[in-house]
Symmetry: C2
Subunit: 126 residues, 2 copies
Amino acid sequence: MSINKDLVAASSTALVLAILAEGDSYGYAILKRVRDLSGGALEWTDGMLYPVLHRLERSGFIESRWAKAESGRRRKYYRITYAGRDQLADERRQWQTVDKTLGKIWSAIADCANTSVNLVPLLQRS
Amino acid sequence: MSINKDLVAASSTALVLAILAEGDSYGYAILKRVRDLSGGALEWTDGMLYPVLHRLERSGFIESRWAKAESGRRRKYYRITYAGRDQLADERRQWQTVDKTLGKIWSAIADCANTSVNLVPLLQRS
DNA sequence: GCAGCATACATAGCACTGCAATGTATTTCA
DNA sequence: TGAAATACATTGCAGTGCTATGTATGCTGC
C-alpha cells in the first residue's frame, strides 16, 4: 500500500517529534523506526526526511550534535527540545481532532448503508 | 484551535467523499456539515472547498448537476460515483494505517514517560 | 586490495500545489 | 433599500517539497 503524499507530509512532523521524544536518534535510525512502526507501510526516503529534520531544527523543535559511533561512523544525533514537546502535544491534539471528525462521518455512513440497503440500489439506477 | 494546512489538505478528500457517501449534497451544505462534525474545529473556506470539489469531479470520484431549491436558489448538487466509493475506501485505509502508526509511537512515549519519570529531569538538565 | 553493499548525511531545481483574496449572483428581512 | 445569508467561481502569488542526485565512510567477501 502506498500512502499519498499529503498524508505523509501531514503526519511526518508528529512522527519525527514522537520518535525523538522516545529518545535521541539519528536520521537513518528514524527511517528504520518509521518503517518498523508502520509495518512497512510508510517508507520514507532520505531526501524527504533530512529536509524535515532541518526544518524542525530551524523551528527550534529539535537540536542536533555530531557524534561518532563505536564503529567510527559519524552520526548526527537529534534531540527534542521543550518547544518540540509542546509542538508534539499540539500536533497530537490536531490529529485526534481530525481523526474524531472522520470517525463520526465513517460511522454515519455505516448507519446509512445498513438502513438504506434496500433503497440504495434503486436510487443508483435511476 | 486551528488545524494546520497539511492536515486539512490530507483529510479533505476523505471528508468530502464520506459526506457525499452519506447522501447528495452541495458546497455550502458540505461546509456546514464539516463544521458540525468537527464541533467547530474545522472551518473550511469557500476558496478551499470548491477547487477540491472541482478536482474530485475531474478525477471522476464525484459528479454534479444543477438544480433549483424550493426557494428558487440554484444549487450544484454533487454525488459520489462508484469510483469515488473505491477511493473513499482507499483513503480510509490509508488514514487508519497512519493513525495506527502514530498510536503506536504515542503509546511508546507514554511508557517511556512512566518508567523514566525519575531520570528524565536529570538528563534534561545536563 | 578492490568492488559492492550498508550506513550515514546533504540539497536544490523543477514541478507542483493551493488558498487568500476577491468576485458574481440571488433571496430574505428589517 | 441595504445588509446579511445563501450559493458558486477562480487565479496569481506565494509557498512548498521531494525526486534525483550526490558525498563520505565502514564492512565484507573474493
